[in-house]
């Protein structure tokens, strides 16, 4: 049995790349191979020009991994971030990182006293304190409230703007759409779609749904030429209250893709 069999990806420097897929599809396996945590039994993998299975400490100094784990329960936020900063040759300032992840004011609190969301921020702080060139984020916002998620997205965008290459796995399609330059959908260990979120799975070319509130209730027309349809409808009815023209959502495309590949 192979958890992953046919994942062929190239991710460019500075890119934010999202891996989507149902549980058990092989996302974590793929990421762990790239992080150097898991040995693969075939194929090639290269991160920053090195094979993760063979790479040493200098390579690790250039990557950052955000793991969903509890920290040392008895140590404080400042102690943990400061300690991890000491592992890297050119770390970010610990105070700056704590501010970046929004834990300012909690420096002196022990990890076990933090809320779930705050612990996740500490996880992120430990992953970025080494100023990584490649950052792995495995389901980073699971358990975040919507506001915390927005703040986290801002942080990811800032890191990406600084040139950090980011590989993200997520269950949240809106997260992939908000952050990723490109998205790959993995199902049953294989990449079933790859592209920009806006065009994934032929999304942009798909038929659009045109809906409006007619006197007798809401009406919908599906067409491959939405502009033409809207002009015709406007000519016929005059006003079109509540008019929307939508492409299939990323979620629609995703569900269709993984449905086909189950």
């Amino acid at each position: 049995m192979h958890a992953v069999n046919g994942v062929d990806l190239d991710i460019a420097q500075g890119e934010v790349f999202a891996l989507l897929g149902p549980n058990g599809a092989g996302k974590t396996t793929t990421v762990e191979i790239l992080e150097g945590f898991r040995r693969r039994d075939g194929g090639t993998a290269s991160v920053l020009g090195e094979d993760p299975a063979e790479a040493g400490r200098h390579w690790r100094a250039r990557i950052g991994i955000v793991l969903q784990l509890t920290a040392e329960p008895e140590l404080t936020v400042a102690e943990m971030v400061g300690q991890f900063a000491g592992y890297y040759p050119r770390p970010r300032d610990a105070g700056e990182v704590i501010e970046l992840v929004g834990l300012t004011g909690h420096e002196g609190r022990r990890a076990q006293q933090l809320s779930g969301g705050q612990r996740r921020r500490l996880d992120v702080a430990l992953g970025i304190v080494g100023r990584p060139e490649v950052l792995f984020l495995d389901e980073p916002t699971t358990g975040f409230d919507p506001e915390a998620r927005r703040q986290f997205w801002e942080l990811v965008r800032r890191l990406a703007n600084d040139g950090t290459t980011i590989l993200l796995t997520t269950h949240y399609l809106e997260e992939a759409e908000a952050l990723a330059d490109r998205v790959a959908v993995i199902a049953a260990g294989e990449v079933v779609a790859l592209g920009e979120p806006a065009t994934l799975g032929g999304r942009a070319a798909s038929d659009a749904r045109i809906s409006w509130d007619a006197p007798g209730g809401r009406r919908t027309v599906i067409s491959s030429e939405p502009a033409k349809v809207v002009v015709e409808l406007a000519a016929k009815f005059g006003d079109l209250p509540g008019l929307t023209v939508t492409q299939p959502s990323l979620e629609d495309v995703y569900l269709e893709l993984i449905g086909e590949n189950r």
Binding site: I11, T30, E72, L75, Y87
Partner: protein
């Protein structure tokens, strides 16, 4: 076929950057290890305070019985309990904390950083030596206050204390690190680590004077370091005439050093071959 690459074309000179040295990082880790140890009530009570509490209890009940001219059970207990205390802050402490760190994924997380693996073990060495010296001082204070234990009164006895302490601590630490891998989760570490340690303390002259232990159990105990550590410490703290209480009627220093060195060698080999940064589930 799996072909995956990230940012191949981009190779700045970061590879040339000097990584922080193992000693500096390890000593910094050691400072935080000690802080974390003394902040966690569970380990302070179970690993650090328990030997002193037991010494007070056992000593209060049996301690004033005289065994041979001028020597009391309390003095035997104190010397034995110092050996038990060394085992607790080295073997038991490392076995429990490393199993917990592996379970929490802390070791995996460290493995994902450029930290030198040596720095991790340097930090543990600092933790063990600080805790163990503090433990010995506490037990010495209890023994001197209540059971008329005397500090070694010759250079030879101080030297015995020094080498038995050092070899015993190193041997117990290495076995503790090795045995942490046998514990599949922090919650099942008691049968793997705590229970054998309690049994050994009963049969090695820590909780019960060694001459009261049945012959066959004495022989079992002789296979493990704790018996030799407690015997070596008795030789450091008790007058020479107390040697008649030992099964061999002598302190057997040469044999003690040999057994401890063999365990150090075996422990080192076990650590190097079995240490895992991840749980078996992760792989």
């Amino acid at each position: 076929m799996t072909a995956t690459s990230l940012s191949d074309e981009f190779r700045p000179t970061a590879g040339e950057q000097r990584l922080p040295g193992a000693w500096r990082t390890g000593l910094a880790r050691g400072r935080l290890e000690v802080a974390a140890f003394f902040r966690e009530r569970q380990t302070v009570v179970f690993v650090f305070a328990l030997p002193a509490v037991l010494l007070v209890l056992l000593g209060s009940i049996f301690g004033h019985q005289r065994v041979t001219d001028g020597i009391t059970v309390g003095q035997l207990f104190t010397a034995g309990m110092i050996a038990g205390g060394i085992g607790s802050t080295s073997f038991q402490n490392l076995g429990l904390t490393i199993a917990a760190e592996r379970e929490r994924g802390m070791l995996k997380r460290l493995r994902g950083t450029p930290m030198s693996p040596a720095a991790y073990f340097i930090g543990k060495i600092v933790l063990v030596f600080v805790c163990t010296i503090a433990e010995v001082l506490v037990l010495l204070a209890v023994g001197m206050a209540f059971y008329r234990l005397h500090l070694p009164d010759s250079a030879a006895q101080w030297w015995t204390l020094a080498w038995v302490f050092t070899l015993g601590t190193v041997a117990c630490s290495l076995i503790g690190i090795a045995i942490s891998s046998l514990s599949k989760s922090a919650t099942n570490s008691f049968p793997v680590i705590g229970l054998p340690f309690i049994v050994l303390q009963f049969i090695s002259g820590v909780y019960v004077p060694f001459y009261n232990v049945p012959r066959w159990l004495q022989e079992v105990a002789s296979l493990f370091p704790l018996k030799w550590m407690s015997q070596g410490l008795r030789s450091a703290f008790l007058p020479a005439r107390a040697a008649v209480l030992e099964p061999a009627h002598s302190w057997q220093h040469g044999q003690t050093a040999l057994v401890l060195l063999v365990w150090i060698a075996a422990g080192l080999v076990l650590c190097l071959t079995t240490f895992r940064w991840q749980t078996s589930r992760d792989r």
